[in-house]
Amino acid sequence: MEALELSRWQFAITTVYHFFFVPVTLGLSIFTALLETCFVITKREKWKPVCKKLTKFFGTLFLINFAMGVVTGIVQEFHFGMNWSEYSRFMGDIFGAPLALEALTAFFLESTFLGIWMFGWDKLSPKLHLATIWLVAIGSNLSAFWILVANSFMQHPVGYALMNGRAEMANFTALVTNPYVVGEYSHALFAGIATSGFVVIAVSAWKILHDEVSKAAFETTLKAGAVFMLIGLFGVMGSGHLHTQYMLKANPMKLSSMEALWETENPAPFAVVAKINKEEKKNDFEIAVPGVFSFMLYNKPEGEVKGINDLQKMNETMYGPGNYIPDVTGLFWSFRAMVGAGGFMMFVAGVTLLLAWKGWIKKFPCVLKAIPFLLPAAYVANSAGWYVAEGGRQPWIVVGLQKTADAVSPNLTGGEVLLTTVGFTLVYLVLAVLALYAAFRFIKNTTVAEGSDA
């Protein structure tokens, strides 16, 4: 394989791996901060020690996850220069700014205050200590904001001018207020809350079944986690819905590709399943519900949606001959995997909350047993979501401005990129095993109860 193909694989592997950890960092930082807030402000003497131990318990899971996210995040930042130097040259005037701002506003904040939070329990007043975890949560979420400002430009460039053979920033405010940012950021933030809620209920369910001493505390976090997860899921659905409607304007090729809509239609149907024929640019077979796709986009059962084949012709007129169609099959099924997994999570969260709230959960130990095994659904949804976002902009690295094929570093050989790809992947695998082992062991051996030492 060539340096280009391998660089794409490497970036995809690193991004997906990195995003195993990012959602939990975003959501669990907030959850941990909420637990510590409970510890600091609660007037109920009974709750105070339990909240503190729960803070440390989920805080430790947060720390293990955070370390994995940070180290892969550094790879991401270096990757643009290492493998995509021509992209960095072409886009640096615009793309570098949010990355530098991410480091200045977010990385310093989260890493510095996390250090204080970890080791400062008896060196700071409780209120000041509480402030540090909130600063960590703010830093993490600010970091997501800046990197999605950068990503949104790649999906939907705004506020630029093509000059001196590169894209130059013409309007910083436009870059930051790109409507695409609103959709991507809110979707990622709520996905983080939903994923973290799922982690919390999975851990709590296991502890309720296997740790008699800690049972009471984790019955509470089971409820809290389910509520947290539902908030996240409603947010994900809402932001996803609005963002999809916005994509009709901003990114029609991605939109029609994820629905495998080859021909322009009004009203457009929603295909539940389809056998996609990329060669003949049509679906050999599909089960479609009439009008539903238009309804999703226009809130009424009519409205034109441009088909892939028409969009291809429009792209050829605008950008010259070439293939402007992304991986329709991959996008179609990724989108369904994402939405399906999200819907399934809604079901899990709803059932858990209902049973926990009514106190019925003890009668259904099978539900508690099942929850931890269902956790991968969140990771499927997150990964599939990124495939839709990033696969959907191909063949462009910046839609309409630069193609992925023109972005790769020209000095790299296939062998070099193969070496690094294999190297990173192996290290990722080994570390995932070690981190999971450490996390499982911690969950198993740590008790959370009044009077016990945590």
């Binding site: 220069g81 290492m82 640096g92 506003t105 204080i116 970890m118 080791f119 700071l124 990173f424 570390l431």
Partner: protein, 336 residues
């Protein structure tokens, strides 16, 4: 002042901060296996840098981000030229970062020794690679008229750059040892740190002076009288620090090694100015603040952000060092 000049200075500041701060935690990580075989001892050694190493590493990430924002061509050429070197550095930093977190999660000796090994290599390797990189930046690399690197991994390794790697490693190790003398409490660890400092210090001075002399004579570094003067002052500061250590003043030694590292960084950037990467093919192909910079518009926005944020970062990072100013003792090991 021209914005490009301001950003050249800011990048110098970021690298200066990075080498001083991460320098001692690379040093501590490198010395970890030599400080003691006992687990509690090692935990105390690690505890001296545990609350701060991640914040220190952000100086490097910010320097990278600042290069990307202010001099995108430098970011593109440098990172793709140092491809395999950066790959090794990233592997090292990944292992190191995860090791700091996971080490304490299991009591078994093999688990802890394994992660100690990761911390050692994760500190040792980046220290060397930074030395190689700094030497290559001033020594020049085969960069063509399109700003594209024409060499491979082995072009990065010259006698000069290898000497640079050794010098950085030893200087950081010494810097780490003097940091330990002011941050540890247990007498036997303090004695160990001092004895290491006294041994490593001699080697570090030799490597520092040889590398400095090679840089001044083998590259065009010597053409800048100011840079040469600053480098000489740095060498004097380093030697003064070493003699202070012999007189049992760890604090004086640490201040001096910090000054030496800072001044060395400033000297290199002074010699480079206005270049950021030197082309060995043709001086006209070198990447400079003129041909590699972002637009004035981007630079002006980033300048406002930097002027606002860098002082705030310095304040709260200073606050961290203030909170953790007490020497690390056995009592600190109760938690975590």
């Amino acid at each position: 002042m021209e914005l490009t000049v301001f950003w050249f200075i800011l990048i110098t500041v970021l690298f200066t901060g990075f080498f001083i701060l991460e320098g001692f935690d690379y040093g501590v990580g490198t010395l970890l296996p030599f400080m003691s075989d006992d687990d509690s001892d090692r935990r105390m050694v690690l505890r001296t840098i545990a609350p701060v190493w991640d914040g220190n590493e952000v100086w490097m990430i910010t320097a990278g981000g600042a290069l990307f924002a202010a001099f995108p061509h430098v970011y593109a050429t440098m990172f793709s030229a140092f491809y395999l070197a950066l790959f090794l550095m990233l592997l090292a930093l990944i292992l190191r970062g995860v090791a700091f977190e996971l080490r304490s999660r299991h009591e078994s000796a093999s688990w802890r020794k394994g992660f100690d090994c990761a911390i050692f290599f994760g500190s040792f390797l980046p220290a060397i690679l930074w030395g190689v990189a700094v030497a290559d930046l001033i020594g020049g690399l085969p960069i063509n008229d399109k700003m594209i690197y024409e060499g491979n991994f082995f072009n990065l390794l010259t006698p000069h750059s290898v000497l640079g790697g050794i010098a950085f490693l030893l200087v950081f190790a010494y810097h780490g040892a003097s940091f330990l003398t002011i941050r540890l409490k247990e007498q036997h660890l303090l004695d160990k740190a001092k004895s290491i400092a006294n041994k490593v210090g001699v080697a570090a001075i030799v490597a520092f002076v040889l590398f400095g002399a090679a840089t001044v004579t083998m590259t065009d570094f010597g053409e800048s009288a100011l840079a040469t003067l600053i480098l000489a002052v740095a060498a004097v500061a380093f030697v003064a620090g070493f003699s202070a250590m012999r007189k049992n003043c760890g604090k004086c030694s640490f201040i001096m090694s910090s000054a030496a590292i800072g001044l060395t960084t400033v000297a290199f950037f002074t010699a480079l100015f206005p270049r950021l990467m030197v082309s060995s093919l043709n001086p006209a192909f070198s990447l400079t603040i003129f041909n590699a910079a972002s637009t004035d518009y981007t630079l002006s926005i980033m300048t406002k952000a930097a002027l606002l944020l860098v002082p705030i970062v310095l304040l709260y990072q200073g606050f961290t060092y203030y909170i953790f100013r007490k020497r690390v003792s056995r009592e600190d090991l109760g938690e975590h």
